[in-house]
């Protein structure tokens, strides 16, 4: 044995050209790639500089300070055409994107889970209806669905002078949904504080109840206490304030004028169309994710929990869903990201999201394509990375702990 080894190690490898050394070849190919890519970038940059100079377009991010000079139909912060700059327009667009995405994600999750579970129902009719919903929504472009909701469904709403009165200060017309606007008095802070105390109290109580159940087996009415703390406490605070005469919240009712409604709060039809379109479309994809996740939980789990005496609802809630979540979370994350990215289709129906405000109006007004595109894409990339990070943390928490 040892003799063979020595001969092998002593035999010098045959002399080969260094050109055949895989490492050197690797350096060569990578050097070539770096050269080609840098050359392309260099060409693009010099051309861009030349073209921008010829077109007399400024460069740099100074334009963010310039006065915007246009109005935006939905603003969550103070914004006016004369008094605000492009930087504020960017913030308005970003907030609008975030608002519609957040609300869309909230509703799409509920709808998606409901439909995903319905697709596995033992009821034939429910199963088939859920299947038709998923197939129909998934196979038609979102843009077409948005146009349908916006133009075909919300378009025929009546003119403001013929608004549909829905009672309690709610009006519906072609300019959107009008509702009472809450006006906060100076001591309105009591209510959010009560809500916060309620939430903290709930968390503490849940921990305590769980510890009690694990050590003694006694169960406490967690649901009722949660309801009482989270909903009851703010309501009580409100009532107390109202009774002592300091009504914390009053409502400004929209009033019917000759041509338009005055006052109140307005929800744009563009917002509603985008929200409904994004929610129903993404829910179809989430339903498939949920269905796959539930199918990935082995049937023995369901049977075992049934033999322990759990009801079907409890089986789903306590046994199947927690295990399915491990399979569901990664694709669910990418559906959330898709919804956020798809919210950029707002530009097609005129909802003032980031792309419509910044890549549309601001880009057209300033002509500074490179800066605007870089900022916008940077925002979406950041949202993507942050969401993936948060979801990865959650994913690590629910992942199987091997013993």
């Amino acid at each position: 044995m040892s003799a063979v080894q020595t001969t092998v190690s002593q035999a010098s490898p045959p002399k080969r050209s260094f050109l055949y050394d895989p490492n050197i070849r690797g350096y060569f190919y990578q050097g070539l790639l770096v050269f080609v890519v840098s050359y392309l970038f260099y060409m693009a940059a010099t051309n861009a500089v030349e073209n921008l100079q010829r077109a007399k377009i400024a460069s740099g991010f100074g334009f963010l300070e310039n006065t915007a000079g246009f109005d935006i139909s939905q603003t969550l912060i103070q914004f006016s055409a004369a008094g605000s700059n492009y930087g504020e327009a960017f913030v308005v667009g970003l907030l609008n994107t975030l608002v519609v995405s957040a609300i869309g994600i909230f509703f799409a999750t509920f709808l998606g889970f409901a439909i995903g579970i319905a697709r596995l129902s033992s009821n034939w009719m429910v199963r088939k209806v859920a299947m038709v919903y998923v197939e129909l929504l998934r196979n038609i472009p979102l843009l077409l669905q948005l146009l349908f909701w916006y133009i075909a469904v919300l378009g025929p709403l009546p003119q403001p002078r013929n608004s549909v009165e829905m009672g309690a200060g709610f009006f519906l017309n072609s300019r959107g949904l009008f509702m009472p606007r809450p006006l906060y008095a100076s001591d309105a802070w009591v209510i959010p504080t009560a809500l916060l105390i309620g939430i903290v109290g709930t968390i503490v109580f849940r921990r305590w109840a769980r510890a009690q159940q694990e050590s003694t087996g006694r169960q406490y009415p967690v649901g009722l206490v949660t309801l009482g703390l989270v909903v009851g406490l703010p309501v009580v605070a409100w009532l107390v304030l109202a009774l002592v005469g300091a009504n914390p919240v009053t409502f400004e009712m929209p009033e019917k004028g000759t041509f338009n409604l005055r006052g109140g709060m307005q929800i744009l039809p563009e917002f509603v169309a985008l929200l409904v379109g994004l929610t129903t479309y993404t829910a179809a994809f989430i339903a498939e994710v949920v269905r796959a996740g539930i199918l990935a939980v082995s049937k023995g789990q369901t049977e075992a929990s049934g033999s322990l005496g759990l009801k079907p609802g409890q089986t789903l809630r306590l046994v199947v869903i927690p295990q399915a979540m491990r399979v569901i979370v990664p694709p669910l994350t990418s559906q959330y990201l898709n919804l956020t990215k798809n919210s950029s289709l707002a530009v097609a129906i005129g909802y003032p999201d980031l792309v419509q405000v910044f890549m549309g109006t601001v880009l057209n007004q300033t002509g500074q394509a490179i800066e605007v595109v870089v900022i916008t894409m940077g925002v979406y990339l950041t949202i993507s990375l942050v969401t993936s990070f948060v979801m990865n943390v959650y994913n690590r928490r629910v992942a199987i702990v091997e013993r």
């Binding site: 009821n123 429910v126 077409l144 979406y380 990339l381």
Partner: protein, 439 residues
Amino acid sequence: MSAAVDMSRFVRSEKVEALPPPNLARGPIAWVRENLFSGPFNTILTLAVLYLLYVIIPPIVDFLFINAVWTGSDRDACRAETAGHPVGACWAFVIDKINYFVYGSYPGAERWRVDGFFILLAVGVAWLLWLRAPRRDLGAVYFFWLFPVLSYILLTGGNMDLGGRFWLGFLAVGLLFVAVMGLAAYLLKASIRSAVIIGAVILAVIGLTLGLVDIDWGLDHVPTSLWGGILVTLLVATVGIVFSLPFGVLLALGRRSRLPIVRMGSVIFIEFVRGVPLITVLIMANTMLPLFLPGDMTVDRLARPLIGVAFFASAYMAEVVRGGLQAMPKGQYEGAMSLGLNYPQMMIFIILPQALRIVIPGIVNTFIGLFKDTSLVAIVGIFDLIKTIEASRIDPEWAAPTISYTGYAFAALFYFIFCWGMSRYSLGVERRLAAGQNR
């Protein structure tokens, strides 16, 4: 026992027919009981769904068929006051505008060329998708080389008129390229002959391609501003798939490469493109491409979104292909290497044929997404199907209350048929591939 037979005793000579099972355990009634009314909760659910269907289905059927108008030449046919009955879908509008929806403003006399493009596309798709088609290797050559070239000639008219100086330059650069190939082979002590042959073949393919689009085929030039409708929708989707597959494979190989710079570059490209919405990529292609090119060069208005879509689809395709590469057992790589194959040979002959085969469903799903996403080019002003419908539904000639609904219903039907068909195909392939795995 007496031998005499007691004739009064009755012996049944044939079997009695079994009684049918009780009605409530088999048959339609039992099925209904079990699947629809198995408990109070299920009964309520069934009734609720039935009511929902009762609310939704009849108006849709009324709209699409019963109250629909099938014939007519202008808005009068589709207005309730002139037609004399409630009007649903105005299919007469779609029939009247169908040429616009299919060809856009493509000149009437030249529309046979668009039909030719549709036929070429159908042949290529069928060749590639039918798993047992003969000579699928030739099918790939057809779909990724011959078909794009022929389509380009058919749709634009070819006749690029490159001129003699271009061809002289091309010849010089080409000969230089072959010489460099030969020199490299000499330095590497490899076969000079095969290096020169490979170089010459590459040169010949590029030259043939350019020659074909250079020749005057006697076709009139049709500017891309006239193209529209389903033609553009299918064109964008086709360009997406034709470019994204090769680029996607390259990116996937790059992402799994052991060379750090190649790997980093692929990862950055893929993650960047997948992290931004397609519409921002399209707007970027629309506004920034002209900036990056020398001042006297312009990019065709239609080509800009095509480039954007090609890049976008490549990144998604790369992730699908990477899945296939990762699913290959390590033994396949080691087997290939132990046979003495080098990297390109190993990939082309051993790994990719198997890896691509198992990700066919994923590729088709990506393509469904791409097909739906083509509708976004309407936002940057390209006349695809949706844009032609948007332009037609406000035509005063056809001003009627249900025109918008009809247009959207037509577009939805078109997209649904294509996407649903592709998803069925992908399911079928999945099942076939799964059957091969069951031992």
